[in-house]
């Protein structure tokens, strides 16, 4: 993005094209912000509201990343760095799901036996 074009007029036309894209993206982000707030007034169930809100946020975030941050025309090394980051980010967000008591990896802790609980103080009176 930072390389200078061959001729001044070509270069200016290219930047003008970019500016038009920035304005279009700005309008799209404004509309999507209104959509985000409007959806919250529908009082959807929590799972549906979370899904829709994060879907709209992802579209908005993608627009910012692709056009304002120029990710749509970046070099392969940047994509490789971001792919690795995305993999670790997903793993990080998945951790709470897996560590939750009803998750896949950690079994539900056994319910305490009332008899054992009652007899515990007698077994260790000085604790």
């Amino acid at each position: 993005m930072s390389s200078i074009s061959n001729t001044a007029s070509d270069h200016a036309a290219e930047i003008d094209r970019h500016v038009r894209i920035y304005i279009t993206v700005f309008v799209a982000l404004m509309v999507l912000t209104i959509v985000t707030v409007a959806i919250s007034y529908l009082h959807l169930s929590v799972p549906v509201a979370v899904t829709v809100a994060l879907l709209v946020a992802t579209v908005k975030g993608s627009l910012v990343a692709c056009y304002f941050m120029h990710l749509i025309s970046e070099k392969k090394l940047i994509y490789a760095v971001l792919a690795l980051t995305a993999a670790f980010f997903v793993a990080l967000l998945a951790l709470p799901i897996f560590t939750h008591s009803n998750g896949f990896w950690i079994p539900e802790p056994p319910s305490p036996n009332p008899t054992e609980v009652q007899s515990a103080p007698a077994a260790s009176p000085h604790r």
Partner: protein, 196 residues
């Protein structure tokens, strides 16, 4: 000794060192905010009940701040585009507007925080407010940091434009990447904290 590959790209990566540097930094930032988002999910899923953000927080103010931050992203990218067109005066206007919009964002947050403290709502009050103040507080620090860098490139750092305009343009682009990242984080924070 001159810093290498500030303007010319490295043959092996096809990028300047500054561009790689800022993206690696942003990758670490993704993990920082990712850890806090993961904590938010863990706390929320484990809580017997969780309040809707709009019952405690001020949605109109946060919506206004969202618009302010998106607008500041546009002015930031226009500042860079102005430098690409060799229009330094226009750059100064757009960069100044970006700094000003960042300031507006912080002022609105100040009023939001003051209102919460006025109603005796602190991070120690409950888990919702703890995660709200942690996430928005860290985000505010990033806004302030980005403003400081932008102010440097608006003021004393702009001297580089006279001696090496390409390098200065690249520096503003990298500063812009950080600013857009701050905007991107808010785009996810806003619905997560205020609307769900």
């Amino acid at each position: 000794m001159d810093i290498p590959y500030t303007v010319e790209v490295r043959r092996d990566t096809g990028l300047t060192n500054g561009k790689i540097g800022i993206w690696l930094f942003l990758a670490s930032e993704v993990m920082l905010f990712g850890a806090l988002f993961a904590s938010y999910i863990l706390i929320r899923v484990g809580a017997p009940s969780w309040p809707r953000g709009d019952t405690i927080l001020n949605v109109p103010l946060a919506t206004f701040n969202t618009i302010v931050l998106i607008l500041s992203s546009v002015t930031m990218v226009m500042a860079w585009a102005s430098l690409m067109r060799r229009r330094f005066g226009t750059y100064r206007i757009y960069m100044g507007a970006t700094i000003l919009l960042g300031f507006v964002f912080l002022v609105v947050k100040y009023f939001e925080y003051s209102d919460k403290f006025g109603h005796h709502l602190y991070p120690s009050t409950n888990n919702f407010l703890a995660i709200y103040f942690t996430l928005t507080g860290l985000h505010m620090l990033h806004v302030a940091g980005g403003m400081a860098v932008n102010a440097y490139f608006w003021g004393p750092g702009a001297k580089l434009w006279k001696t090496n305009p390409e390098w200065f343009t690249n520096r503003v682009e990298h500063s812009g990447l950080f600013w857009h990242f701050v905007d991107l984080v808010w785009i996810f924070l806003f619905p997560t904290l205020y609307l769900l």
